[in-house]
Symmetry: C2
Subunit: 217 residues, 2 copies
Amino acid sequence: MGKQVSISVIRRLPRYYRFLGELLRGGVHRISSRELSGKMGLTASQIRQDLNCFGGFGQQGYGYNVEALFHEIGRILGMDQNYKTILVGVGNLGRAVANHMTFDGRGYRLVGLFDNNPDILGETVRGLPIRPVDELEQFCIEEKPDVAILCTPREATKEVVNRLVALGVRGFWNYSPHYDIALNHPGVAVENVHLGDSLMTLCYKVKDLDDPEGDRG
Amino acid sequence: MGKQVSISVIRRLPRYYRFLGELLRGGVHRISSRELSGKMGLTASQIRQDLNCFGGFGQQGYGYNVEALFHEIGRILGMDQNYKTILVGVGNLGRAVANHMTFDGRGYRLVGLFDNNPDILGETVRGLPIRPVDELEQFCIEEKPDVAILCTPREATKEVVNRLVALGVRGFWNYSPHYDIALNHPGVAVENVHLGDSLMTLCYKVKDLDDPEGDRG
């Protein structure tokens, strides 16, 4: 129907997808917006509004079909896309990301790892050898990756991004957000990961335990 | 004034804080909600509404005082709290978190690192020795940490959280969100980090580059 859906609704979809996946694994096949609301910490009306953006999968007085909704949200998110993905920067952060993430069935396929540290070249992580960053061009021409995960040091990000954009990479999952990729390359898709934002939110929540009325208003 | 501010406004404050900090470092002392809106990808009216929740720092036709707003948001978030913080699980993820994060001046002070792997005990990260998890009790009784960062393996999280809650830890920055801390310990503050949500959002954005009208509506 081509209706524009706001990015804030899109941003909530992964959370719905996670919760629905857990329900399915727990054998739950039907759920009301009220029950979903209790589990997700959103209001029932917010949930109905969000899910209506995509055509609505619920029936009045009957609830949502968990499996249908799970698959439809997965399809909207692109979990079936299988984007070829490389990771640049295989330090502690890069290794953690490579090892902890589920890529298969989540829209991605990890196909290459790159780093500049000669001490780790040739090591394998998740069965993939760590290659020198010098080989990016040749690798990308042959493999045509769609997405790059950047765990690069602050000073390296800009140059790596410029090379990758020229090589046709059009999605960046960026752990090095000091360089503003979206501003400099408006045609690509970017998600910046700002871990510190969540840490700051926690600080507020801890303070709020002590003094729940203190800083509001 | 004690007015309840919604968690969704609180969640946007770290982003304001980051942007305002960048403006200050760039020598910008005054900014309109319209300019801030362009930089942050929020509407100007959203920004005015958010900042009004805290009493409003802007003057009509004059804009916001960047420095005053930065400090006020920092105060609301608790950036001056200096919470004593420990990190449990010093694998790749824990090391990345310990090394990449700025704790000082962001509300936290990192005081202890714990792991069960005998091969790394005694190593230092950020000047702190890695201690055995067995020493949690003694350490916490002496140091009274407020917050714990959990980079523990899935199966260890529940037991570690139970011990830490009993020892008085009341804030958790949790990278192991399979165990629902908030559900089991309603009196503590929790931020779960779901890195996969951002990766799923990116998948949507990449797909949207190819087919901007495809899955909406």
